[in-house]
C-alpha cells in the first residue's frame, strides 16, 4: 500500500509502485479532471501539482510521491464555488473541446501562486509545455490574465 496526499486528503492506494499517478487519480480515486493525452509527457493534459509545482502525472510513478503534496483541478473549488482560475476560464469561455483545460489551469495555478504579477513573456513561457489543439490559446491567456487580476495581481507587459 502506498499513501498519497491528494487535495489535502490522505489515501491508501493498492497499486504497483511504478504506476503513473494519473492512473491512480482517475482509476482508484475517481478524480478524473486530469486527462490522459499522450502518455509521454508531451502534451500536458495530465498536469497536476506536486509540492506546488507542475508535473506530468502520466509520467510520475506513485513511488515518487510518498509524503508529498499532490493537488488536482478538483482541489481548486467546485462548480458552484470555483477558484479564481476556473472562474476566469469560464468567464472567458477559454475551453473549446476542454481536454487540455484542467492541465492548463493547474500549470497556470502554479505560476500565479508563486508570482501573481508575471510578465506576459513569463506567462507564455510557463504555459509552453501544455498543448491545446483547438487553438484557444488567446482565450486561455486572457483567462489567466483575468485570474491574476482577481487574485490581486496583474500580468504585466513585457519589456521588448
Amino acid at each position: 500500500m502506498i499513501s498519497l496526499t491528494v487535495n489535502g486528503t490522505e489515501h491508501s492506494v493498492d497499486a504497483d509502485p511504478d504506476t503513473p499517478l494519473l492512473y491512480v487519480l482517475r482509476g482508484d480515486l475517481g478524480l478524473d479532471g486530469a486527462k490522459f493525452g499522450c502518455g509521454l509527457g508531451q502534451c500536458g493534459a495530465c498536469t497536476v501539482l506536486v509540492d506546488d509545482r507542475p508535473a506530468f502525472s502520466c509520467l510520475t510513478p506513485i513511488a515518487a510521491l510518498d509524503g508529498r503534496k499532490i493537488r488536482t483541478i478538483e482541489g481548486l473549488g467546485t462548480p458552484d464555488r470555483p477558484g479564481a482560475l476556473p472562474a476566469a476560464f469560464e468567464a472567458e469561455q477559454a475551453a473549446q473541446c476542454g481536454y487540455c483545460i484542467a492541465g492548463m489551469i493547474m500549470r497556470a495555478q502554479a505560476l500565479l501562486e508563486r508570482n501573481v504579477r508575471p510578465t506576459e513573456a513569463e506567462l507564455r513561457r510557463h504555459l509552453a509545455p501544455n498543448l491545446c489543439r483547438c487553438g484557444t490559446h488567446m482565450r486561455i491567456l486572457r483567462a489567466v490574465r483575468r485570474a491574476a487580476a482577481a487574485m490581486g495581481g496583474e500580468v504585466q507587459e513585457s519589456a521588448r
Binding site: 509521454l40 508529498r68 521588448r160
Partner: protein, 390 residues
C-alpha cells in the same frame, strides 16, 4: 578609437551582409549575446565563470548601448585583440583569442551583418566579478601571456573554423587557473556553466564511433542518432549551425571525426551493455522510478525508440566521469526551438526529489555502463534540482 556616425544599414552590399549572417551562425554569436526570449544580439545574458558573472554586451548597432558608433577598425580590434572601442579591455569570456584567427574578409562581412541589424536599446548589467578580476587592466598581462596572433593554417578549413570563428575550444578545452585554454590539452573536455563539454579527441567517452557523417548530422540537427541529443549550451550551438553554410559544418565534422579517430569507440572498443538484472537488484527504487517515468520512451520497443533515437546504452553523458549532464537533462528536459523540430523530453525536476533523481542516475549508470558508480550523487542531484526548477 574615435566614435563614428552609425553607418546606414543600406550602405552595405547585400551579398556581404548575407555572408556575414552565415558567419554569425557559424560563430553562434547569438547564443551568448541574446538573453532567453530577448531580442537577438541585444546582450544581457549572464555567463557564469569561475571568476564571477559576466553579462554579454549589446552588439546591435544602437549608438548608445550597442556598437552603432564603432568603425570597422574598432570592430576588428575588439574581435582580434579584445579591446573595446573606447579602449577598455574585454574579458576573454568573449573568445577573441579565437577570433584573432578570423580573416579580414570574414570580419568585414560580420561587421556588415551586425551593423545592418535593427538597433536595440539595452544596456547590459554590470559584471559581478570576484576581486581582483573586476580590474580590467589586469587583462593586458593576460593578453601578453595567452593571446596568440598567429593565423590558422587555412589549408584545413575545418581546423581553421574550429580554432577561429566556431571557437569550439572555448567550451571543450580545459582552462588554466587564469581562464586561458591549456594548449597541451586541446579538446580534452571541460566545464561550461555547469555542463561538461565532452572531449573531442582520443579521450572521447562515446560508445559508438563519431564518424564525419554522424557528427555532421549532430551539428546540423542537434541529434546524434547513435550518441545523444545536444543539450545545455550545445543545443543552442546546434540550432545556429543548422543555419550556417553546409560545407563549413561538414568541414568541422570531418576535422573532429579525425581528432576522435583514436578514441576507444572508433577502434571498436566501445562496449554496449544492458545489465538490467544487476541494476534492478542494486537500485530497486531507481528501477521502479525508471519503469514509471522513463520506460515509456527509453525502453526497447517504445514508440520513441522505433523512431531511431539512441538507446541509453550509447548515451555519452552516462559514460562521462561526472553525473551533471545526465542529471541536468533529467531535471530540465530537452526542448526543441520554437518552430523547429527536434528531440523533446519533459522536465522531471518537479516530479522527483534530489534523492530520487540520484537513485535514477545510479540505476542508469549501473544498467547501461560498466563504469564505477558516480560519487556524491545525491548532493549533486539536489544542487542541480535547486538551480533550475521550473
Amino acid at each position: 578609437m574615435p566614435a563614428v556616425p552609425p553607418p546606414a544599414a543600406t550602405s552595405f552590399d547585400r551579398a556581404t551582409v548575407l555572408r556575414g549572417e552565415e558567419l554569425a551562425h557559424l560563430g553562434a554569436c547569438r547564443t551568448c549575446h541574446t538573453v532567453r526570449g530577448g531580442r537577438p544580439f541585444a546582450g544581457g545574458r549572464a555567463l557564469r565563470t569561475p571568476f564571477g558573472t559576466i553579462f554579454a554586451t549589446n552588439i546591435t548597432p544602437d549608438p548608445v548601448t550597442g556598437i552603432g558608433r564603432w568603425s570597422p577598425d574598432a570592430f576588428k580590434r575588439a574581435m582580434r585583440e579584445g579591446v573595446s572601442r573606447d579602449g577598455h579591455f574585454l574579458y576573454p569570456a568573449f573568445p577573441y583569442d579565437h577570433f584573432a584567427r578570423v580573416t579580414d574578409d570574414d570580419l568585414a562581412a560580420l561587421y556588415a551583418f551586425l551593423m545592418s541589424r535593427t538597433p536595440v536599446t539595452a544596456r547590459a548589467q554590470d559584471n559581478r566579478l570576484d576581486w581582483p578580476f573586476g580590474y580590467r587592466p589586469l587583462l593586458a598581462a593576460w593578453n601578453l601571456l595567452y593571446l596568440q596572433k598567429d593565423t590558422a593554417d587555412g589549408a584545413d578549413r575545418g581546423r581553421s573554423l574550429a580554432e577561429g570563428l566556431a571557437h569550439c575550444g572555448a567550451c571543450h578545452t580545459p582552462r588554466n587557473r587564469w581562464g586561458a585554454e591549456m594548449g597541451g590539452h586541446a579538446y580534452d573536455g571541460a566545464w561550461t556553466e555547469g555542463w561538461y563539454a565532452p572531449p573531442l579527441n582520443a579521450r572521447s567517452p562515446a560508445v559508438q564511433p563519431w564518424t564525419a557523417d554522424e557528427l555532421f548530422t549532430y551539428l546540423r540537427t542537434g541529434l546524434g542518432t547513435t550518441h545523444a541529443a545536444a543539450a545545455g549550451p550545445m543545443a543552442g550551438v546546434a540550432r545556429e549551425l543548422a543555419l550556417a553554410p553546409e560545407a563549413d559544418v561538414r568541414a568541422l565534422a570531418v576535422y573532429f571525426a579525425r581528432l576522435m579517430a583514436d578514441a576507444p569507440a572508433a577502434k571498436g572498443h566501445g562496449a554496449t551493455r544492458d545489465a538490467q538484472g544487476d541494476a534492478d537488484r542494486m537500485h530497486p527504487e531507481g528501477a521502479t522510478l525508471f519503469a514509471g517515468a522513463c520506460a515509456a520512451c527509453h525502453e526497447a520497443g517504445a514508440p520513441m525508440m522505433q523512431q531511431g533515437r539512441p538507446p541509453l546504452a550509447w548515451s555519452t553523458p552516462l559514460h562521462a566521469d561526472a553525473p551533471h549532464n545526465t542529471l541536468r537533462v533529467i531535471v530540465q528536459g530537452l526542448a526543441p526551438a520554437p518552430s523547429r523540430g527536434g528531440p523533446s523530453m519533459p522536465a522531471f525536476g518537479n516530479d522527483f526529489t534530489g534523492r530520487q533523481l540520484a537513485e535514477i542516475a545510479a540505476y542508469l549508470r549501473t544498467r547501461y555502463t560498466d563504469l564505477p558508480a558516480w560519487p556524491n550523487l545525491e548532493q549533486i542531484a539536489a544542487e542541480v534540482r535547486r538551480e533550475r526548477r521550473e
